[in-house]
């Protein structure tokens, strides 16, 4: 079969959309109230070492994904167990993202439609995208991204009359601990989820590109998130953490004259595309992992069933939106920490040791 390859630009766009995808709507650092933007900055800085570790792992083993790296570093059976953990994690994450989308549509647009219908529709689109492969996915995203960025900035500019910068004061009013807690949740919710990309970036061009891709993608996405967070706080004040979808509420405040109203629809367009990218990446990672563990010829033969399972999972995972919000804010950062930080760091250390010993044994 032909080898798939994506350019650096497309990969940067993919990472950017993955990070800003759900975060633009759900919002970050809700615990930190009006200091959420500081926790965003802190989270970005604390993500930098992890980002270097991820890109180093990718460039140590060019053309290999995380599941190959596990079996090369830890041996066959432990590698399969670790792969199973990551398959579960990406499957679960995709389900959660899909559920987010379903709740958003249910709360905001179609309250009478059963929750299952919007999730099924988006899930089928994701299945189709994964079936077509990462090239098609990244190019589709690359077509839509200029539209997304322009929408975000136009909404930002239109919202300027609503800003009240005094809502940002007092800075550090709630103490430093709340900011750290918010930073931890921001760190684990959009930033460190990019560990999923270790499973699918087998098709980058050169050895140096992972670093470039990770740094630029994270930088652009983080700056957008921080700007949007400041906007939300300046429009909504202390309430920003209390809404399920703060960006949507902030955009719905926009009124320019009597004719520019209802701008929030554009925000939901951004959200739908972000969810599409995120869910597709997760599904692709899960399918590739299953194909690697069971030595399948191609991951495409199991895409449909895995995608359908993901849709059903996302339907049954929570009973209410309150439970979902509690889970995202309180449980998820701790639950995801081993997969996001501990296992990659251990893998990286052992891989570096093995790589540095290898030339000696060859001589």
């Amino acid at each position: 079969m032909r080898k798939e390859q994506i350019s650096d630009k497309e990969a940067i766009i993919l990472i950017m959309m993955f990070i800003i995808g759900t975060t633009l709507i759900v919002g970050t650092g809700g615990n930190a109230k009006n200091d959420a933007w500081i926790s965003g900055i802190l989270a970005t800085f604390s993500f930098i070492p992890l980002l270097l570790i991820f890109s180093r792992l990718l460039s140590l083993f060019p053309g290999k994904d995380l599941f190959d790296i596990f079996s090369m570093v830890f041996g066959k059976v432990p590698g399969k167990i670790l792969s199973a953990i990551y398959i579960w994690y990406s499957f679960h994450l995709g389900g959660l993202v899909l559920r987010n989308f379903g709740e958003f549509v249910n709360v905001v647009a179609f309250p009478e439609t059963p929750l299952f219908i919007p999730m099924l529709c988006l899930g089928i689109v994701c299945i189709a995208a994964v079936y077509l492969g990462i090239e098609v996915m990244s190019r589709t995203t690359a077509i839509f991204v200029p539209l997304i960025i322009s929408i975000v900035f136009v909404v930002l500019i239109l919202g300027i009359p609503q800003l009240r910068m005094d809502y940002i004061q007092p800075i550090l009013g709630n103490g430093f601990t709340t900011i750290l807690v918010g930073a931890f949740s921001t760190f684990s919710f959009p930033m460190a989820e990019t560990v999923i990309f270790l499973c699918i970036f087998t098709s980058l061009q050169t050895k140096k590109s992972p670093k470039r891709v990770y740094i630029w993608g994270t930088f652009i996405a983080a700056s957008m998130i921080i700007i949007i967070t400041i906007r939300n706080i300046a429009v909504l004040g202390n309430l920003a953490g209390n809404f399920y979808f703060p960006s949507y509420v902030a955009a719905s405040r926009i009124r320019v004259g009597n004719f520019i109203q209802g701008v929030e629809v554009t925000v939901s367009f951004v959200f739908i595309l972000g969810v599409f990218v995120k869910c597709t990446v997760c599904l692709l990672a899960a399918c590739k992992g299953i194909a690697k563990v069971f030595n399948l010829k191609d991951y495409r033969s199991i895409v449909v069933q895995t995608g359908l399972l993901m849709i059903y999972f996302s339907y049954t995972v929570y009973y209410t939106i309150i439970e979902m919000n509690y889970w995202i804010n309180k449980i998820y950062p701790y639950y995801a920490f081993p997969m996001q930080v501990i296992i990659p760091v251990i893998t990286w250390i052992i891989a570096e040791i093995k790589k540095s010993r290898q030339p000696l044994t060859n001589k």
Partner: protein, 69 residues
């Protein structure tokens, strides 16, 4: 509802399982059919409005027992 589920899965069997069987890709076929049986079961249960246990509650209990609220 159950009618839709059965029709949908019939199409899936025709268009995804039978080609794999004909190409004699056995491991692909078996993994796919196990996943397919699982997802068909869950789809039938959902269509009968059965409450399927979710992993969210046990994970939440585990995390709160370790780290506190």
């Amino acid at each position: 509802m159950i009618i839709f589920v059965i029709i949908g899965y019939t199409f899936l069997v025709i268009f995804s399982f039978i080609p794999l069987y004909k190409k004699k890709l056995w491991s692909d076929f078996w993994v796919n059919s196990i996943l397919g049986v699982l997802s068909f079961t869950i789809a039938v249960l959902i269509s009968f409005n059965v409450k399927i246990p979710s992993p969210a509650k046990p994970i939440a209990n585990l995390i709160t027992s370790i780290f506190g609220k």
